[in-house]
C-alpha cells in the first residue's frame, strides 16, 4: 500500500556497497570520515533524492568518506523529526533533510516537536509548482482557470498531494486572490504523485497542482497543459508565472538540511562550510540541473529569517483553509 508508512532504517548502506563501486576518488579535502543523513521520508521521494544527491557529489569529490542513511517516513516528516531530535542531539556529524512540507505538516498535525527544535544549516534547492489542466480541457490559460474558480469554485475540482501541503496552500491562495474563501475550494487529495497524475491525465478532475518536475514530462508530451508556474521567474518556456499574470503569489517547495539540537558552534560552522562548498562545486550545479532543481542556497541567519517568514505565511493560509 503506497500511502502507508515505508519507515525504513538501514545503516551502512554505502559502506556495504562500496565493493560494487571501486570508485576513483577525485582529489579533495576530506571533511568528515562519515556523515549520517536522516531522511524523514521513505526512499524515492524529494527529500531522499536530495540526501542521496549530496552523497553522490560529496563522495565523488572525496569530501566525505562514507554516508549512513536512515529513512523514517510518514506524516510530512513529523514522524521522523522527533526521533532525529532525541537520537542525534549534539552530534556534529549528523544532518537531517527537510523542507517546506515539514513546515506545513508540523502546523497541521500540531506536532509538539518542530523545526524550532533543530539547528537550521542551509537551504539547498527549491522547486516551483505548476498549475495544469488536462489536455482535453476547455480552459486555455490561467485567466480561464481563475474565472472558473471565481464563478464556481465547487465545480472546479483540483487534484494535488495530501491536504495542507503546498499544492493545497496554492489553491487556497488562488481562491483568496479571486475574492473567494480558501474553504470554498474543491480540493481532491491523492496519496503519491502517480494516482494524482493519473486523475489529471484521465480528466477526472478539472485541474492539478504539483511540483514542476512531476508534471514537466506530461506537459512536454502534450498530455497536460501548463497554465502558470509559481516561481519568481519563468520555469517553463512559454508558461507565465502567477506574478506576471497579475496574481501576487510566489511559492516554492524548498528543501534544505538541518543539524541536531545542542550543536556546538564550531560543529555548526563546519557543517555550514561543508554545504556552502558543496553548493559552490560544479558537480553540484550539474546535479541540480540534471534533477531539475533550482539552486536556492541560503545559510546562517538569512536562512533562519527565511524560515520564520515561511512559517508565518504557511500558518496564515492553513488557518484560512481551516486546517489549523
Amino acid at each position: 500500500m503506497l500511502s502507508r508508512r515505508s519507515a525504513l532504517a538501514v545503516a551502512g548502506s554505502s559502506a556495504a556497497l562500496s565493493f560494487l563501486s571501486g570508485h576513483v576518488r577525485a582529489q579533495g579535502q576530506q571533511r568528515f570520515a562519515s556523515l549520517s543523513v536522516f531522511v524523514p521520508a521513505g526512499p524515492g521521494g524529494g527529500w531522499d533524492g536530495l540526501g542521496r544527491a549530496i552523497e553522490q557529489v560529496a563522495r565523488q569529490a572525496g569530501m566525505v568518506g562514507s554516508f549512513q542513511f536512515e529513512n523514517v517516513g510518514g506524516a510530512g516528516g513529523t514522524v521522523g523529526l522527533p526521533r532525529f531530535v532525541s537520537q542525534r542531539r549534539g552530534r556534529g556529524d549528523a544532518v537531517m533533510v527537510g523542507g517546506a512540507i515539514m513546515v506545513g505538516a508540523v502546523l497541521a498535525n500540531r506536532s509538539p516537536v518542530g523545526l524550532k527544535d533543530v539547528t537550521p544549516l542551509a537551504r539547498m534547492t527549491t522547486e516551483p509548482s505548476v498549475i495544469v489542466v488536462p489536455a482535453s480541457s476547455d480552459i486555455r490559460d490561467i485567466a480561464g482557470l481563475l474565472a472558473a474558480l471565481k464563478s464556481n469554485p465547487g465545480a472546479t475540482s483540483v487534484a494535488g498531494g495530501s491536504a495542507g501541503g503546498i499544492d493545497h496552500i496554492i489553491l487556497g491562495l488562488l481562491l483568496k486572490s479571486q475574492g473567494r474563501s480558501a474553504k470554498d475550494g474543491s480540493y481532491v487529495a491523492f496519496a503519491g504523485g502517480g494516482p494524482a497524475q493519473a486523475a489529471i491525465l484521465g480528466a477526472q478532475v478539472k485541474a492539478g497542482i504539483s511540483g514542476i518536475s512531476e508534471f514537466a514530462e506530461q506537459v512536454k508530451a502534450g498530455r497536460m497543459r501548463a497554465l502558470a508556474t509559481t516561481g519568481a521567474t519563468r520555469s517553463l518556456d512559454n508558461v507565465p508565472t502567477l506574478k506576471e499574470s497579475g496574481v501576487d503569489i510566489v511559492m516554492g517547495n524548498w528543501r534544505g538540511v538541518f543539524g541536531p539540537p545542542g550543536l556546538k558552534p564550531e560543529d555548526r560552522e563546519k557543517l555550514v562550510k561543508f554545504f556552502t562548498d558543496l553548493d559552490a562545486s560544479s558537480a553540484w550545479q550539474e546535479m541540480c540541473q540534471r534533477q531539475g532543481w533550482d539552486r536556492a542556497f541560503l545559510a546562517g541567519s538569512d536562512f533562519e529569517a527565511f524560515l520564520k517568514s515561511d512559517e508565518a505565511a504557511t500558518a496564515e493560509v492553513l488557518k484560512e483553509v481551516g486546517l489549523v
Binding site: 500500500m1 503506497l2 500511502s3 508508512r5 515505508s6 519507515a7 525504513l8 532504517a9 538501514v10 554505502s14 556497497l17 560494487l20 563501486s21 570508485h23 521513505g42 526512499p43 524515492g44 521521494g45 533524492g49 542521496r52 552523497e55 553522490q56 529513512n71 510518514g74 506524516a75 513529523t78 514522524v79 497541521a108 498535525n109 506536532s111 516537536v113 465547487g154 495530501s162 491536504a163 501541503g165 493545497h168 474543491s186 480540493y187 481532491v188 487529495a189 491523492f190 496519496a191 503519491g192 504523485g193 502517480g194 494516482p195 497524475q197 493519473a198 486523475a199 491525465l201 484521465g202 477526472q204 514537466a216 514530462e217 506530461q218 512536454k220 508530451a221 498530455r223 540534471r290 531539475g292
Partner: protein
C-alpha cells in the same frame, strides 16, 4: 519501433554475459529480501541506488527488475511456511498456504506458488510488451468513483473468509476497519485515533498487522493451549506436485494472472485487491470434491490463484511507469528516481526516446522470470525442511523472526507494542473462534475505499448518484450485487424447484 523489432533488440542487449550476471544477482537478492519480512523491493533498490554512479543504465535496471520480480517470488515462501507474510501482496497466500504446510503439503504449496509466479510473471511481461500503451489509456478512464465501486466488489470477498459465524466475521471486519482509521486523514490532514503518539500519525503498517494476527497470534495460542509436553514434528510429506495438484492449479494460475495484470496497470490498483478477488473466485469455483479443504487443511487453488494474481499485478505496475512515467508503487517511484540519476526524464516519451533501454529492460524481465523459477524450484526442498523443527522450537523461532523483522524495519518500540498487543488479541480471537483474515481485509480496503469515496464525492460536489450514473462504476456495483446475492437467490430457486435435496 514495433514490438517484435523492439524485443529482438532488447534480447540482443540483455543476453550478454555481464547483463545476465546483473539479472542473476538481482534475482538472488530479490528472493532473499522477499523471504525476510519487512524488507521489501523498494528499500533494496533504494540501497542499491549508489551503484548508478558506476554501472551503465542497462545493467542497473536489469538488476533492479531482478530484485523486483525476485521479491515477488520470495514473498510467498514465508507466508506458506511460517504464516508470516513478507509483503502485502502475499497476505492472502498465507490463508491457505500456511494451512497446507501444517498438513504436510508444504512442498506442493511452494511449487504451485513458484510455477504460478512464473506463469503469471510471463503473462504479465507479455502484457507489458504487447498491451502496455493500450491498457494504460483504458485504465486512465477510471476515476475515484470506479475505484470505490471496485473496492465494494472486493468487500464481497470477505464472505469467503468469514468462517462459520457471520456475526463473528463481521466483528473482525469491523476491527480491521477501525485499525485502518488510525493516522492522518488524507483529505483533511487531521490525525485520527493517534492518541498523541507520533509513530501512529502515519497509520499502522498492514504487513505488521498481518504478521501479528497470523503468526504471533498462532504461536501464542499454541503456547497457551498446548498442554502436553510431547515433542511434535510436523509432517513434511512429498515435495513434488501430484498430477491432481497440477490439474487443480492450472485454472487458478491463468485466472489469477488475468485478474492481476489489469489491477496492476490501474494507477490506484495495487496487488492486494486482485489477490482477494482471486481467492474469492477460487473458493467459489473449486470442484465440490475439494470444497472442504478451504479453511481446514488448505486448498492448493487458494495458493495458486492469489500468488499468480500477485505476480501479474507486479508486472502490471511497470506499465504506467514505462508508458507514462507514473510511479504507482513505492518500487516504481524509486526506479523512476534512478532514471533521473542517469539524466533520463521518465515520462510519456520514454518508449520513443529511450527505446533501447526500455526494450532491454522488458527482455530482462523475461530472462529474470526464467532464472527465478530455475533458482526457486530446487530451493523448495531446502525451505520445506524448516518444518522438521519440532513445533515448540519452530514457533519460538517464528516469534523471534517476527520480532526482529518488525524492529528491523522501523527501529520503533511502538511497532513492537502493536505487534504483541494485536498478537494477544489474535490469540483470544482464535480461542473464541473469530476469524482473523477479515481484520486484514478490512484494514487494506477500508482506507482505500474511504479515500476513493471522498475523492469521488468532492469531484461530484457531494452528489451520491455519481456512483450509479458513471457507466463503468454502475457495472462494477452490479457485479458486486450479483456476487453477494446471486448464490443465495440461486440456492433458494434450486430448493424451490427441488433441484437440491
Amino acid at each position: 519501433m514495433d514490438v517484435w523489432s523492439g524485443l529482438s533488440l532488447g534480447f540482443g542487449n540483455a543476453l550478454t554475459l555481464t547483463n545476465m550476471g546483473w539479472a542473476l544477482l538481482g534475482c538472488f537478492l530479490g528472493t532473499a529480501i522477499g523471504v525476510l519480512p519487512g524488507i521489501g523491493p523498494a528499500l533494496t533498490i533504494a540501497l542499491l541506488l549508489p551503484i548508478t554512479f558506476q554501472v551503465s543504465a542497462t545493467g542497473a535496471f536489469i538488476l533492479f527488475c531482478g530484485v523486483f520480480y525476485g521479491a515477488m517470488y520470495g514473498g510467498s515462501t514465508t507466508s506458506i511456511l511460517l504464516n508470516t507474510p513478507g509483503e502485502s501482496g502475499s497476505i492472502i497466500t498465507a490463508l491457505e498456504g500456511a494451512k497446507m504446510a501444517r498438513h504436510g503439503r508444504a512442498g506442493p504449496a511452494l511449487y504451485t506458488a513458484a510455477i504460478g509466479s512464473f506463469i503469471a510473471g510471463t503473462i504479465g511481461t507479455l502484457g507489458i510488451s504487447f498491451l502496455g500503451p493500450v491498457v494504460v489509456d483504458l485504465a486512465l478512464q477510471l476515476g475515484p468513483a470506479e475505484y470505490f465501486s471496485l473496492m465494494i466488489l472486493c468487500f464481497v470477498t470477505v464472505s469467503a473468509v468469514l468462517g462459520g459465524s457471520a456475526l463473528r466475521g463481521l466483528a473482525a471486519l469491523g476491527l480491521g476497519l477501525i485499525l485502518g482509521l488510525i493516522g492522518i486523514d488524507l483529505q483533511t490532514g487531521q490525525p485520527r485515533m493517534t492518541f498523541g503518539v507520533t509513530e501512529l500519525l502515519d497509520g499502522t503498517d498492514v504487513v505488521l498487522v498481518a504478521v501479528a494476527l497470523f503468526a504471533v497470534g498462532e504461536a501464542l495460542f499454541l503456547a497457551w493451549r498446548h498442554h502436553d509436553a510431547k515433542q511434535q514434528v510436523l509432517e513434511v510429506g512429498r515435495l513434488a506436485m501430484s498430477k491432481e495438484d497440477w490439474k487443480r492449479s492450472i485454472g487458478p494460475w491463468f485466472r489469477g494472472a488475468a485478474l492481476g495484470f489489469p489491477f496492476g496497470v490501474m494507477p490506484a490498483g495495487g496487488t492486494e485487491m486482485p489477490t482477494m478477488l482471486s481467492y474469492y473466485f477460487e473458493r467459489k469455483l473449486v470442484r465440490p470434491k475439494y470444497r472442504h479443504e478451504f479453511g481446514t487443511t488448505g486448498a492448493i487453488e487458494g495458493v495458486a490463484g492469489p500468488e499468480a494474481a500477485n505476480n501479474a499485478a507486479a508486472a502490471g505496475i511497470l506499465v504506467p511507469m514505462l508508458t507514462l512515467g507514473l510511479p504507482t508503487s513505492a518500487t516504481a517511484a524509486i526506479m523512476l528516481s534512478a532514471f533521473q540519476s542517469y539524466g533520463i526524464q521518465p515520462g510519456p516519451m520514454l518508449f520513443t526516446t529511450q527505446a533501447e533501454l526500455v526494450w532491454t529492460l522488458i527482455a530482462s524481465l523475461y530472462i529474470a522470470n526464467v532464472m527465478l523459477v530455475v533458482l526457486n524450484l530446487p530451493l523448495v526442498g531446502l525451505w520445506a525442511r524448516i518444518l522438521k523443527i519440532p513445533t515448540p522450537q519452530l514457533y519460538a523461532g517464528i516469534l523471534v523472526f517476527a520480532t526482529i523483522g518488525t524492529y528491523g524495519i522501523s527501529n520503533s518500540v511502538v511497532d513492537l507494542v502493536i505487534l504483541y498487543t494485536l498478537g494477544i488479541i489474535a490469540m483470544f480471537m482464535r480461542r473464541f473462534d473469530f476469524p482473523t483474515a477479515p481484520v486484514v481485509i478490512g484494514m487494506i480496503l477500508g482506507p482505500m475505499a474511504e479515500n476513493a469515496m471522498r475523492q469521488a464525492l468532492t469531484i461530484s460536489q457531494g452528489d451520491w448518484t455519481t456512483f450509479i450514473t458513471r457507466p463503468v462504476s454502475v457495472c462494477i456495483l452490479a457485479l458486486a450485487v450479483i456476487a453477494l446475492l446471486g448464490p443465495r437467490l440461486w440456492g433458494l430457486f434450486a430448493r424451490r424447484r427441488g433441484l437440491v435435496p
